[in-house]
Structure formats: C-alpha cells, structure tokens
C-alpha cells in the first residue's frame, strides 16, 4: 500500500496545482499542490532506493555463504529443518536429506559427507510472524500476505509430486539473485514457504521447483 501513497499524492498535487493555475482567486493553493507533488515524488522513490541500498549492503553476507557452500564442495541444495529438530528453523545444505541436525551447529557430518546449517529468510520470517495456524494455506496467508506483505494472494494445492504454492502479486525483494545461494535456498518467497511448511509439518522440507512469471510465483515443495 505504501507504494500507492506516492503516486496518489502526485496526482492530487497535480490536480490542486492545475486548479490553482486555472482559477484566478485560488492561486495560493499552488503552494499546497506543489508540496503534495514533492511529497509524492519523495514517497514514491525514497523507500525503494533505500531498500535497494540495504539489499546491496546485505549481499556481502550472501556472498560469504555462497563461498562457504562452494568451499565445502556441497551441491547447492538445502533442506529446511523445523525447530523441533534443529532447535530453531534453519536450512541444512547437504548432499542428502539429513536425518538429524545438531542444535546450534554451523557444520556437521551427515551420512554422505559434510553439511552446513544456515539461517535463511524463512528463519527471520518465522521470527516476525510468530504463532501460525496449523493449515499451510492459512499459515502462509497469515505470514506472507498479512504480516510481511510480500504477496497479495496465496493458493496451496496438493499434487502427487509435492505441494504447489502459488503466490499472486508477489513483491518480495531479491536479496541474492545472481548467487549460488539462490540455487541452494531458493528465492525469498520460496525460502519463507519452505520454512513455514517445515515448521507446520515438523519434518525436513525441500524446494523442488520455483517459477516466477511476472508477479506470479509458484513454489513446489516436498
């Protein structure tokens, strides 16, 4: 909604300014119209510009995570682990689905080799969202749509190959778009979806597929 305030102020300010210029005895309203246009311009551009800069600064952390995954020689594939198993909601990057994750560990040795335990956007989203309903669709609506405001709508469908979650009007920021960590953790929305699903199902969850078509995002989980 914040994105709509700026353009609305610009339109309002332009209308007031036009009225002030066309109606001779209303000329002083020009000051108010110009102020509304200025406020609209700044409100439209400022949050997006600041968000872009913060995302760029935070990229350093994701670059380090990418380098860590690469240095460990792990495939870029994460399993989202619920707090009932790992003590907090995390993702384990490992060659195979880990059966157990030591609490508080950064790395551990799984059956097939080393594994890395990472905090993800999903971890932080769960901190922000607090208690969630037991149903996945309800939980995602409550967290992603109502609390985080990262999508306008969400629909969940169960298919033989996994659970398909479809977001409409997605507006999630890209935190690590061009990096290896994206292949491992999935995008921001996929990460949050997987973390929420893992918490509700109380078992490790992996992202099978993530598709983005304009503002529609489809995430398939298993």
């Amino acid at each position: 909604m914040q994105n709509d305030v700026g353009p609305s102020l610009i339109v309002l300010g332009a209308a007031v300014s036009a009225l002030a210029l066309l109606q001779p005895n209303l000329t002083p309203l020009l000051a108010l119209g110009l102020a509304a246009v200025t406020a609209g311009l700044l409100t439209t551009w400022e949050p997006a510009a600041r968000e872009k800069i913060l995302a760029k600064l935070a990229e350093a952390g994701w670059e380090n995570v990418s380098a860590l995954i690469q240095a460990a020689g792990l495939p870029p594939k994460a399993y989202y682990i619920p707090s009932t198993i790992a003590g907090r909601p995390v993702a384990a990057v490992a060659a195979e689905r880990p059966e157990a994750v030591p609490r508080g560990a950064l790395t551990f040795r799984a059956k097939t080799g080393p594994a890395i335990v990472l905090s993800t956007p999903g971890t932080k989203a769960l901190e922000l969202c607090g208690e969630l309903p037991e149903d996945l669709a309800e939980a995602l609506r409550s967290c992603v749509v109502n609390v985080l405001g990262l999508a306008r709508s969400v629909a969940v469908a169960e298919r033989p190959d996994g659970v398909v979650v479809e977001y409409g009007g997605a507006a999630a920021p890209e935190l690590y778009d061009q990096q290896l960590v994206k292949a491992a953790l999935g995008g921001v929305l996929a990460s949050i979806t997987a973390a929420v699903a893992a918490e509700l199902w109380r078992r490790p969850v992996e992202i099978i597929e993530e598709k983005r078509e304009g503002r529609r995002v489809v995430v398939t989980l298993r």
């Binding site: 209303l26 002083p28 000051a31 108010l32 102020a35 700044l42």
Partner: protein, 81 residues
C-alpha cells in the same frame, strides 16, 4: 524523512491559507513562498539515497530558477528598464 515531509505539507497549507486570506493571487508570490518553505525543510530531509537526492535537488533548483526569474522581473519593474 517523514516529519520534514509533514512539515513541508503543513507549512505549505498554512501559507496557502494565509495568502488566500490576504488575497495575494499572484503566481510569483506563491511560488517564491513555496521555494522558501522547500529550502527551509530541505536540510531536515537529508540524507537521501542517490536517485532521490538528485530528484530533490533538481526540484529545488527548478524552484530557485523560477524564484530568480520572478525576482528579476520585479527588479526590472522597480528599475523601470
């Protein structure tokens, strides 16, 4: 940045109301008053990230240019050139 923007809108609203009360219907007076308010609130708006500070500075420069034009017209009228 929220409070300086509110101040800009509030001061402009007060200035509009006062100029209407005075019956000052000249565009140059209104634009000059708004330019003054704009630059008075400008230091409180900053710091702004890069594309936005360019927009803010460009709008301020345009207002200053308009103010300079209106001031020049008034000075020329006084000097009867």
């Amino acid at each position: 940045m929220r409070y300086p923007l509110i101040a800009l809108l509030a001061l402009s609203g007060v200035a509009s109301a006062f100029l209407t009360y005075l019956g000052a219907n000249a565009v140059d007076v209104v634009v000059s008053t708004y330019t003054l308010i704009y630059w008075a609130t400008a230091p409180f708006m900053r710091p702004l990230p890069r594309p936005v500070n360019y927009i803010h500075a460009a709008a301020g420069a345009a207002l200053l240019a308009a103010f300079a034009y209106f001031a020049a017209l008034r000075i020329l009228a006084v000097l009867k050139i």
